[in-house]
Symmetry: C2
């Protein structure tokens, strides 16, 4: 029997509900009913519904920058290997946090005053890393010289992450024989890499 505090319990429940229904569509009563606690606990522990959402968001986003720092620290790797490592990390993070993509997606499209800036900072760093790595690969002659690094960076992020965003819907009409996230990202990245290489 694992002991969990009221705070931890609330964050876990809130992560699921906010992710699947959206911030505005979840009421504090729905949250506290699901957590089998009293309504007033949210205000007491998190200073209101927004405070709880902020706590959830903070906890969800923690691994992103950490992974990016890890990949960046591998100076000795070639651009190809660094991008490959990044794709691996993406799969790993989504495995750990199945709801992360939904929060990022939701905040990207309808940013909240608190979550918006956080997401913006995170994604900005991700894009900068990808662009810089693509440019490095172009300069080294590994990637095609006429690549537009802006567009190509968006393509990569889209190709890798769209799967995790749309997964609930996709599973309704595509039979995914294997639910392994790493398998998808590996396949998508293979196509992408093959698409930007100068030679195969």
């Amino acid at each position: 029997m694992i002991k969990t505090t009221t705070q931890e319990n609330l964050i876990e429940i809130a992560t699921q509900l906010f992710a699947t229904k959206g911030f505005a569509a979840v009421s504090v009563r729905e949250l506290t009913d699901a957590a089998h606690i009293n309504v007033s606990a949210i205000s007491y522990h998190f200073n209101g519904k927004e405070g709880l959402y902020q706590a959830v968001l903070k906890e969800q986003l923690a691994p992103i920058l950490k992974a990016l720092q890890f990949v960046k620290s591998k100076h000795t790797l070639s651009p190809i290997d660094r991008l490959t490592l990044y794709a691996d990390q993406i799969a790993r993070i989504h495995n750990q946090r199945p709801f992360l993509a939904r929060f990022i997606n939701s905040e990207s499209i309808t940013p909240t005053s608190f979550g918006g800036p956080v997401i913006e900072t995170h994604l900005s760093q991700v894009y900068q890393f990808i662009q810089a790595t693509l440019q490095e690969g172009i300069d080294h002659g590994e990637f095609q010289a006429d690549l537009d690094v802006n567009y190509a960076a968006i393509s990569l992020v889209g190709s890798l992450n769209f799967y995790f965003i749309a997964k609930p819907l996709i599973q309704k009409f595509i039979r995914l024989t294997n639910d392994d996230n790493a398998e998808y990202t590996a396949h998508a990245f293979r196509i992408y890499l093959h698409g930007i290489l100068t030679q195969v």
Copy 2:
């Protein structure tokens, strides 16, 4: 001076507000204030807030199946040319309806009882077309034999559509010198196609 009916005016305002804030976060008063009409007009004309949303959704989704039918009808085209034509259509549709990606995205992740099934039907057909075309290309020896058509279809849709979903956020930290949607999709599709071809 263009004459617009109250219905048309409401749908236009509602398209913008629902797309940018989400269904649950928009109140009927906000809608009618923005449209400079009375609150009761929504119930009168659309039988309530949900009815208005349905009308917006229906109007937004109309071009998707039409475009798909058009591409499918080009029997004589090769798999490569049919996919290329499809990518062109995607750009064209998003040009016409700048908010479409947000509605599809929103309904994919947090489906409403009315919108969910509609989106599901639409996207299911898109995936089936892409999968079938990929398989045809594999059988003809144009595409790599070891492609997983399920994963590869998701990659393509993600690569092409993610840009339109995340555009509001991306524009905050990527300088897009040219706002032309067709330019992005062409570039993304070029990478993708190059990535799945057997020879270049």
